[in-house]
Structure formats: structure tokens, C-alpha cells
């Protein structure tokens, strides 16, 4: 990696440099010393951009371009098979925001399931992480186990849960009936379907969040706890007054990641609904991501589906901002 030229001033410690130096350094030798200095400065200044360039080039092609192109499509009448038809300006957005009750239904479902899934998810993850942070038996085993649901494929998880939540032949209803209660039609009604989907989501994400919290907890200096213990603080009090405040940036991170995931919730409710984008007969568990699919691929209105996609993007940004404000308020309150 290291180039052959003599060490240049300003290069204080070793670092890999691009090979173009090899060619330029021979030229620089018969040039003035100023050449070399300038070159070194240019190197110092621009190499970092070069190192990050591959990501940004790939991002531009596979991330940015589709986003911009989606915006372009959303301004048109555009059918899936027929392609571009007519420029309609903001018509798709106008209908979406002011007339489309189905979109608002999907938005409501998405937010509802987000709250129903995320609040218990993060709370349970916090408690689990606190448990795993203590000296318990088989700690290593438990720490590895919590991540297993996360590494299982979503489709497989959803498939199994889909069977568990079957109305007539599902295991959960079987147990409910054993207890003597009436079986639940999980696919019908908001509360039942939201709960089922939330359980699937939490099953998958609790372990992930637990590990993140655990890592952050291990970075908290032990002497804080020792000092608190000497002052007579209970474990509970230590948890609320040391652990939680110290974890605040981590909690913010998990809340934002959960927000992004929650707003894009798709696979679980789709598989739960047997592969349909309808989300139940009354669209009780149709999320905005499912609505986007059903518009773009069911009705084959690509333009409108793209408009939905853009609104989802805006909604995620809005909610992430709200989260940041919210968590900052908690910080100032603590």
C-alpha cells in the first residue's frame, strides 16, 4: 500500500494512500519543491473524499436516482405496463392529501401499529438488557439467544405466526378455547389484527434493541453505580436515575430506527393477510407501505403509487423530527 517516494513533509503517520502517487512523485522530483507541497496538500484535502466516494457513487445510482425518478413518476399518469402517459403536475398529491380516505386509513393503521409495537418493544428490550447486564448464569447463552429472532428471515417468521394466528386452526385460538374463551378472528377488527402484527414485529426486534441497549449499558462507568449504592440507592433507583439518563442517546437512536421501520411496516402485515396488500376486508391492518403497493401493483397506477411513496418519505422525516424533539424534552426534564 505504501508508495515508494520519500516521506513528504506533513505526513506524520502512516496511512494507506492511492497508487497514483507513484506516478506523480517521479514527476514531482524534477519539479520544484512547491509542487510537492501543493500536491501533498491536495492529497490531504481530497483523499478523504476519495475514500468515501464509492459509497456515495453507489448511493447516487441505487439510492438517490430511484428517489428522484420516483418523484418524476409521481407527477405523471403512469401505468405499470403502459408506462408514461401524461404530465399531471401535483394532481396525484392533491387527491392523495385531500380526497383519499383510504390513504388516511392506512396512515392511521401504520401509526397505531407503530405505537402498539414500539412502546412495549423498547420497554421490554430495556428490561431485558438490564437483566443481561447483571451477573446471571448462562449469560453468554442468553445474550446470543435474544438475537436469534432477528436473524430469522421475516418471511419465515411471518409464515409461522400466520399459522399461529389462524382463526379456525391456529394454535393461539386453540389455547384460548382451552381456557374457555371465545376464539378471536385475528384478521378482523383493528385491535385483534394490530395486536397480532405487533407481536410479530416485537418478536423480531426486541432482541436487536436489547443488544444495542446492552452494549450501551456496558459503556456506563461502574463507579457511578458504586457511588449510588454507597449512597443507599436501590437497584430500581439506579436503573431510572443512572442507566436511563446515560442511555439517552442510544434510546434516541433506537426510537428513530423503530420509527423508520414502523412507518415502512410491510412484510409482517402482508404475510399475516395471506399475501394480500388489502390488509383485511376493511383494510384494518393495511399500512401505508401496503397501500403504496396496492396502488402501484394492484391498480397499476404507478404514478399514484409513487406519490404515496414520497408522502411516506415525508411522514418518516416528520416523525423522526418529532422524536428528536420529544427525546430532547425528556433529556431536559431529567
Amino acid at each position: 500500500m505504501r508508495t515508494t517516494g520519500p516521506p513528504t513533509p506533513g505526513e506524520t503517520h502512516e496511512r494507506p494512500r492511492p497508487s497514483h502517487r507513484t506516478r506523480t512523485s517521479s514527476k514531482a522530483r524534477d519539479g520544484s519543491a512547491g509542487w510537492r507541497v501543493r500536491l501533498t496538500k491536495a492529497d490531504m484535502r481530497y483523499s478523504p473524499y476519495l475514500y468515501v466516494a464509492p459509497f456515495f457513487v453507489l448511493f447516487a445510482i441505487f439510492g438517490l436516482f430511484p428517489v428522484i425518478y420516483t418523484l418524476w413518476i409521481s407527477l405523471h399518469d403512469w401505468t405499470l405496463l403502459g408506462g408514461q402517459e401524461a404530465f399531471v403536475g401535483l394532481d396525484n398529491y392533491a387527491y392523495l392529501l385531500f380526497e383519499d380516505t383510504r390513504f388516511y386509513n392506512a396512515l392511521f393503521n401504520t401509526l397505531g401499529m407503530f405505537v402498539l409495537a414500539t412502546v412495549p418493544q423498547l420497554l421490554i428490550a430495556l428490561l431485558l438488557a438490564d437483566l443481561l447486564n447483571r451477573r446471571i448464569r448462562f449469560r453468554g447463552f442468553f445474550r446470543v439467544s435474544v438475537i436469534f429472532p432477528y436473524v430469522t428471515s421475516v418471511a419465515a417468521t411471518a409464515l409461522v405466526f400466520g399459522q399461529l394466528f389462524g382463526r379456525d386452526y391456529g394454535l393461539i385460538n386453540y389455547v384460548i378455547e382451552l381456557v374457555g374463551l371465545p376464539p378471536v378472528n385475528w384478521q378482523s377488527g383493528r385491535l385483534a389484527s394490530w395486536s397480532a402484527v405487533s407481536i410479530m414485529v416485537d418478536w423480531r426486534w426486541i432482541g436487536y434493541n436489547t443488544l444495542i441497549y446492552l452494549a450501551a449499558m456496558q459503556a456506563i462507568p461502574k463507579d457511578l453505580y458504586e457511588a449510588a449504592a454507597i449512597d443507599g440507592a436501590s437497584r430500581m433507583r439506579q436503573f431510572w436515575q443512572i442507566t436511563i439518563p446515560m442511555l439517552q442517546p442510544t434510546i434516541l437512536f433506537t426510537v428513530i430506527i423503530s420509527t423508520i421501520g414502523g412507518m415502512q411496516l410491510f412484510t409482517e402485515p402482508v404475510m399475516f393477510g395471506g399475501g394480500d396488500y388489502d390488509g383485511g376486508s376493511q383494510a384494518e391492518f393495511q399500512t401505508i407501505a401496503m397501500y403504496m403497493f396496492s396502488e402501484a401493483f394492484g391498480r397499476q397506477d404507478y404514478g399514484y403509487g409513487s406519490a404515496v411513496a414520497w408522502i411516506i418519505f415525508v411522514v418518516i422525516i416528520l416523525f423522526s423530527l418529532i422524536n428528536v424533539l420529544f427525546v430532547q424534552r425528556i433529556r431536559s426534564a431529567v
Binding site: 491536495a42 476519495l50 453507489l58 405496463l81 395471506g274 388489502d278 376493511q282 404507478y302
Partner: protein, 437 residues
């Protein structure tokens, strides 16, 4: 000046680095596509849904055409298959070399016919006589110069019923007698009420299959169209047959004779295996679905009655087309022609009871004399074949599938107790309008 050189150089290098990354990605993707072996062997993928009965035909084709491997890629549910096909077509890759096009999608695909190879360019023109005229014409452009698909089956209607459960509940079990007793849908409901009084099972699987059946029957009898009129206008509110079919389906649900199992879901299949219901409408292609779903344990329990309450009709049926994205259009077109030849229709019928749309096949002894062992040796060839030649299918709009699904969703909500029938009808009209806007 020097700084500019540095910047330009950095930019060039960044570009080069980026391109290298892209190249790596592209070549990595390219590796999978080379399915052709060195010896000129090619693989053709046939994409189907449900059960097309092509196992024997594919085997035969591979034996007769060394160098060609044919794989069937099957998706059980049409609801999954249809959107996936359209996505693959729109994306320009991922579709099979020969794909099944269901009647609910044919109008849409005709509107984007350039997505498919024109089979007339591959010598299909002389095959017209192999198909019922409507089956040929619906896959042909108005100008008659572009043929998108060759007909496979159609969905002539009959009823499938569990003779063993009927007997246990004290109902007649003979095909003729059963048919006579349910001449109308009201008779059907009366029979169902009697059945559920004497049985643990429900009578019919759901109210959405009866809806599809009735809408197709009435549409065929009155005007030849259902949710969309032939000019492509949504007519859910103005075409009386839609409301009639809806009300009749609601009545079935309110009589308490439905198992409320959504068709072709895992629950439906489980219900089939657990004998949760005793009757369902059987377009010809449904026989294969039931046999696959119910399994060998129930062989001989099912039977087929020729009479459908309210009269005959057509529900479903497909074409085979060759997507323009296929790398082997010539070979794929030849395969599609083989599969849809009269012999192909007969073989598929023998395997999955998909009702031929080839007049020659329909009149062949192989079809007319065919009895189905699984369905208590019912003479299914005679049951379906005799009415098939006269069937005239109804016109379907481009958004037929989403509109019908939206209406069926409301029927399911009534069965679940989430909506009253009147609310459901209002909702059905609103949803249909939103889908077709």
C-alpha cells in the same frame, strides 16, 4: 491552478473508483443469467398458477426436444401470481419464457401488447381453428395483426359436493338428484339450512365464491358484462346484476350456512382437509385445486353435479403468452403452441381437468368419456364438455380483479359481523369507484 488540477484528478479518480464498483456489481449480477450450457442447451421456464396439468406434457416435450429443458414455476394463488407477472413484465425481467395469463388480466395485457411476442410472427396464424372463436379473438388485437396468447382452458361451471357428508346429513347424494334440488340459489340456501341442522360442517365455503359465480351467471344472461361495460366504464352501481349477486351472496351468509373461509388461503385448504364445508362452485379448473388441497384421504368423498343453481356460466380460464423479454422467443413460442395444441388440451384435462377451449379436444372421446376417479368417478368430461361449446364468456374490464376483490372484501366483512349488508353495499360501491378511478 494547481488546486484545480488536484480537484480534477480527484474527481476523475473518484469516478473511476465508482465505475469500478458499479462494474463489480454488474458483473456479479451477470453471472447468474448464463443458463445456456456450452452444448447449446436452453432452459425454458413455464409460469403457471393453480394447477395447469402440464407435468406429462412437459416431460413429453423434453423427450421429443433434446437440448431443451423445460421448468414449470408454479404459484398456487392467482392473487399472488397476477401482480407478480405484471411487475416482472414492467421491470423487463423475471418473467418466464411462457407465462399463463388469466382472463381477469387479459384486457390489461392487450392494452400493453408490445410486452408480448406477436405469436402470429411465429406461425400461430394457422392455429385459429384449434380454438373456440371467442378464445382466439380475446387475445388478438382489434386490428387482428397481433396475437398475444394462445388459449388454454376455460371455466365452465358445475358444483362440487361432499357426497359422504350429504348422506350423513340426510340429503340426496346422486348427482342428478342433487342438481334437481338446487335449481335456484334460494333452493340452494334451503338445502344448506337443512344440511347444517344435521351436520357439524358448514354447507358452503364462503359467500365470495357464490358471488363470483352469480355475477358471472347473471352477467352472461343479461348483457354479457359485469363490473365494467364493454366501453370500459365502471357500472357497479348501474348494472343490476351486481346488486343482485351481492344480495344473493349476503343471503347465503345470513342463512348461517357458510364456513367463512377465504378461498385459496391456508385456512381454506385446512378447512378442505378438515371437512369444514361440503359444497363449492367448481369451474373446471377447481377440480384440480380441490384434489390438491384435500389430498388422497378424501378421495371418493367429493362428487360433481352438473347443475349450478341459477344456470351455467363461465368463471376463469387462461392463455399462454411469450413475454417479449424472453431470451428464446422462438423456442418459447413453439412450446406454447405445443402446450395449447388439441393434444395439449386433452393431456392437461386428463391431469388437472382444466376444460379445453379447443373444439377438437372438447369433442374428443378422451374428454367426453373421461371420468374422474377422485371425484367418485364423476363423468366430468360429459358434465363440462357438453355445455362448453355454447358458452359465451362475459366481458371483463382492465381493473376487473381489484374491483371484484374490493366487493368481495365487503362480503367478508358482513360475514365477520363488521358491517351490515347495507353498509357493505355502500362501501362496495365506494371502494369499487376508488379502485377504478
Amino acid at each position: 491552478m494547481m488546486a484545480t488540477i488536484g480537484r480534477r484528478r480527484a474527481r476523475t479518480i473518484a469516478l473511476a473508483a465508482g465505475l469500478a464498483g458499479v462494474l463489480a456489481a454488474v458483473t456479479a449480477c451477470g453471472g447468474g443469467a448464463g443458463e445456456e450450457g456450452e452444448s447449446g442447451e436452453i432452459t425454458l421456464v413455464v409460469e403457471t398458477f393453480g394447477n395447469f396439468g402440464y407435468d406429462a406434457l412437459i416431460q413429453q416435450y423434453m423427450e421429443e426436444n433434446p437440448g431443451i429443458t423445460v421448468e414449470e414455476r408454479n404459484t398456487q394463488r392467482l392473487e399472488d401470481y397476477g401482480p407478480q407477472l405484471l411487475q416482472n413484465l414492467a421491470a423487463g425481467s423475471g418473467a418466464g419464457d411462457v407465462v399463463a395469463i388469466e382472463e381477469g388480466q387479459i384486457e390489461q395485457i392487450m392494452a400493453a401488447n408490445e410486452q408480448f411476442v406477436n405469436l402470429l410472427d411465429h406461425g400461430a396464424g394457422e392455429l385459429q381453428g384449434n380454438f373456440l372463436s371467442w378464445k382466439w379473438e380475446r387475445a388478438l388485437t382489434q386490428e387482428g395483426d397481433y396475437l398475444v396468447g394462445l388459449g388454454t382452458d376455460m371455466g365452465g361451471l358445475a358444483m362440487c359436493y361432499r357426497a359422504d357428508l350429504f348422506e350423513a346429513a340426510g340429503l340426496p347424494t346422486d348427482r342428478e338428484e342433487v342438481g334437481e334440488q338446487w335449481a335456484t340459489w334460494d333452493d340452494f340456501i334451503a338445502m344448506g339450512e337443512e344440511f347444517v341442522e344435521n351436520s357439524d360442517a358448514a354447507f358452503v365455503d364462503n359467500t365470495t365464491i357464490p358471488y363470483s359465480t352469480i355475477v358471472n351467471q347473471l352477467g352472461g344472461q343479461q348483457g354479457g358484462y359485469t363490473h365494467f361495460d364493454p366501453s370500459g366504464e365502471l357500472v357497479v352501481e348501474t348494472n343490476p346484476v351486481i346488486r343482485q349477486a351481492f344480495d344473493q351472496a349476503v343471503a347465503i351468509g345470513e342463512a348461517g350456512i357458510s364456513a367463512n373461509l377465504e378461498e385459496f388461503t391456508e385456512d381454506w385448504t385446512a378447512g378442505l382437509q378438515q371437512s369444514a364445508f361440503a359444497v363449492t362452485t367448481c369451474p373446471a379448473w377447481m377440480l384440480g385445486q380441490i384434489q390438491d388441497g384435500a389430498g388422497e384421504d378424501l378421495a371418493g368423498s367429493w362428487d360433481v353435479a352438473a347443475t349450478v343453481p341459477g344456470g351455467g356460466g363461465n368463471w376463469g380460464g387462461s392463455w399462454l403468452g411469450v413475454p417479449a423479454q424472453s431470451e428464446h422467443p422462438e423456442e418459447a413460442a413453439a412450446l406454447a403452441q405445443f402446450l395449447t395444441s388439441p393434444e395439449g388440451h386433452i393431456s392437461a384435462f386428463q391431469e388437472a381437468n382444466t376444460l379445453p377451449t379447443s373444439p377438437e379436444a372438447l369433442q374428443s372421446p378422451e374428454v367426453l368419456e373421461y371420468t374422474n376417479e377422485y371425484f367418485s368417478d364423476a363423468p366430468v368430461g360429459e358434465i363440462y364438455g357438453t355445455t362448453a361449446l355454447e358458452l359465451e364468456p362475459v366481458y371483463l374490464g382492465t381493473l376487473e380483479v381489484p374491483v371484484r376483490t374490493a366487493i368481495q372484501n365487503q362480503l367478508r366483512a358482513v360475514e365477520n359481523g363488521d358491517l351490515t349488508p347495507d353498509e357493505a353495499w355502500e362501501q362496495a360501491v365506494a371502494e369499487a369507484e376508488a379502485e377504478a378511478r
